[in-house]
Point group: D2
Chain length 295, copies 4
């Protein structure tokens, strides 16, 4: 019986280890020795050495460890020493502990639908404790799936109160990741800094082109031959956060703003779904204002 057959049998024995530390010889040897000695088989590993003066080293392991759930506490404790020696930032995550996602949406629900669909068919390993919207378009479909739907009207003038409510819900539901699935309200720095590298947005253009509002209108004006979408982590600089994924679709002179939007929706939903999936699998590391994505 191979590891992979086991994998499909005992998903709760799968763990992941992400490490970031100054680059120096012997890191991989030390880490793989540690995993071996703790009975963890390496199923997948990806590494990256930064090509800049920071000289940082990044690695992600996915491992299989018989009886992981009972061993993991000890493993994390034992890791402290190694981490100290190499000045490592590290995170252990466990397949068994699903991340908890909150989806924010406004009127256009195509991205939400894609996420819900993948979630229903088992391709998005997450719990979705709630959906928040400043409109009611999504209510019926969300509630039909048994997910609580919070209708919180929003606008510039009541932003403070709205965000207070949202933050409270995030804490109440112990949310790990916030997905802005075409949520058309700007989040304040105060909100954003509470969830660093935990808010994923979909922007409807191939950034950095058409930053800000009305990208399809501006793409039409400029006469581009490709339209795109970009998923990224949200920072305080609007549409300037670390890019996770981008994709495009070909258009031509016959397209107008409505058809650009239709075509763009197809791109948006797949670009957001991929970013969310990678985030849930701990495949993304943020470095400065970029992402390292270990596919």
């Amino acid at each position: 019986m191979s590891i992979y057959t086991q994998y499909y049998r005992n998903k709760e024995n799968i763990g992941r280890l992400l490490v970031k530390c100054p680059d120096k010889p012997g890191i991989v040897a030390a880490l793989s020795k540690f995993l071996f000695e703790h009975g963890a088989d390496i199923m997948e590993s990806s590494q990256y050495s930064s090509d800049d003066p920071s000289r940082m080293f990044y690695i992600r392991f996915e491992f299989y460890c018989e009886g992981l759930l009972s061993k993991r506490k000890q493993m994390e404790e034992d890791f402290q020493e190694l981490a100290k020696n190499f000045k490592m930032d590290f995170t252990f995550t466990y397949n068994e502990t699903k991340k908890r996602s909150a989806i924010f949406v406004s009127k256009e629900i195509h991205c939400l639908l894609e996420l819900l669909w993948e979630w229903q068919s088992g391709d998005l390993e997450t719990d979705i404790p709630l959906v928040i919207s400043n409109h009611k378009e999504a209510q019926e479909i969300v509630e039909s799936l048994g997910i609580p739907f919070y209708y919180i009207p929003a606008n510039k003038d009541i932003r403070k109160e709205v965000e207070a409510k949202q933050v409270e819900l995030m804490y109440k539901y112990k949310i790990d990741v916030i997905i802005l699935a075409r949520y058309m309200q700007i989040l304040t720095p105060k909100f954003v800094e509470k969830f660093p590298n935990k808010i994923i947005n979909i922007h409807h253009s191939f950034l950095p082109a058409f930053i800000g509002a009305h990208p399809y209108e501006r793409a039409y004006e400029r006469g581009v031959k490709l339209i795109g979408a970009t998923s990224h982590y949200v920072t305080n600089d609007l549409d300037e956060g670390p890019i996770i994924d981008q994709d495009i679709e070909r258009v031509d002179h016959r397209d107008n703003v409505p058809t650009l939007k239709k075509i763009g929706q197809q791109v948006e939903r797949r670009v957001l779904a991929r970013a969310v999936k990678w985030h849930l699998q701990d495949r993304i590391i943020v470095k400065d204002n970029k992402t390292i994505v270990f596919h």
Copy 2:
């Protein structure tokens, strides 16, 4: 024997008619009647009605006409009346009369090579009376193909004199289209206005992202996941002219500026080659700051 078999036999009987006029009923009927009465079979036709207050109509015909070379003068004369009635701008072009292309290049010769290669294998129906460069990298390959190579060093301070020489050469060689195949000098408005919609440039980014200098460096800084290239007509607004074609390639966090450039070169050469091909086949109409491309 079908028209298409004839087509491959007697290419000199192929002509094209491009028309632009205010949109109103009956244009297609009038034009196709005209062509029919002049013995011209329509091989291909494409039309576009502008979706804006200008209400303009655009159409391109490719036709086969037995004995075209002896008939064409009369055909053009006869067309005057129809053109007047419908207030048409129009152009007849003939397969037999190849457009004359001048290629401008600097140090990086990948785009030039692609064009020369397609030209050699018969896929670029043009004459290339000269190549102009401010560097000598391309000299050997160009001259080995029997094409005159003009080495004209250039920089900001001598721009005026350089352009005077270039303009003289354009006139001397009766150039129809100027292809900037990674020519890294800015052209002055004075030069540009002499060749409206006749200068094709390749910009090494998916415009409007990374307008101006060093797009790969800036793409690297921004951490994009796609890099692109854009072919466009040159206007006096740098990198703001009508876009003809765009394409992209996927990159990831392991790429640095040199690898982005390598990957980008593949995109640049195919995006420029397509634009040139369409221009030579009169498939492009410029409307405001956009292109209509009849593929």
Copy 3:
């Protein structure tokens, strides 16, 4: 006010004319004259001359005609003479008369979901009077949208009776097009010949590779680096009917049969949705065993 603005206002004034006839000079002139004289503005036209000894000519017009619904009967009558002169096969269709689609599905419902979604958001201009399935997976979602769901268990032994029921339903509901959205039962020649060029299937491979059963398993065995999907009209030769659209997605050595299926589903749903859309807009002409698709 441009035609296109009108277009969005009065969709019932839009019609289409598809013509097939022996190629000879003057066809476009005659047709465009006819449309002009009947007050029909040509919004879009596409033509194709066959490149083989059959010498056939194909053309599709999309036109706008004020008061079309009251004029169309007369227009069709008047067209008879022209059609006779040029030996034309022709079809007039009207935007106002939506085609009626029946969707057949088995256990895997991703293609059905995509169609329902596009239909709900107004991108699939069709009526869906019923869904038929030999399984119950789709029942809930279909009925929640108010569409009758017919559960008709099927297998090799009762094929005759099953098809009899299905044909009866097709007639009862006046079905124009049958969409096999991953319907995993073979249709008999008797069924197929009742709906020539009216049954659209999605096959989960890039045909002609992996014709028949278990394409993902066989793709895995062969070690391909791309997997694809093909939408085609159904004929009596299994998976050999005229291809409408194909697309692919990149895979690698880490993929196994389950992940190939997941990736493939994304391709299948977009390839089927495109084919259905083009069929509904009368953009497809079947010629021998191929399709002409006027995008």
Copy 4:
């Protein structure tokens, strides 16, 4: 100074280690310990565990080792013990030792041109001691680059003699890899078995569709909407060897055999060039009749 800066400075210090062995715990730990103790920094590592009863494990390291050229002999000797313990098949290769490529070509030279071009611009790290052709189309360009060109006419009747000459040349020039860049002669089993997993072919279809002769003609007949190309290792089963890479381009009903060929050439040259590049970088492992490609 980071490893990567060194990398660009001292390419001769780069080595690669490929290992294949039965899967069991501790392999990565043992290998990375070995490299660490021999002063080799891991720059890149990729692994794969087979998902079948064979339970094999595959890993590729790229490492930087100060003074590699003087140390490598000892390193290889020291590795014997480790290899024995884990029953490893392994290969060390060194950046400093360029692989030697022979290119075989017939009349169509587009794939050859692409390879020569990439080689000239430094993107294909190989020596090309000779080009062999059964036609003379490529002679001028090959010789202009200072590469010996061997014109060896070939046909079914003289296959034995032709291959004897070719084999002699392969040995004389110490050839590591044979690239069939549209070489239109069948190689006998006797030839093929002399160079296992060392002959790379480009087939002008997306295999397994259109195995054998005239794929474009058959693609045209079938009316496909995508055409493709496949690079693969040559085995004794025609077009059935392990696939390295595939890609496609979109076509439509207007394309005929000559235009399909033109479009296909663009795909062929990039698919072959990628496969050759990966082979030269030891990124490909053949497993049964498939490839593992560590991008």
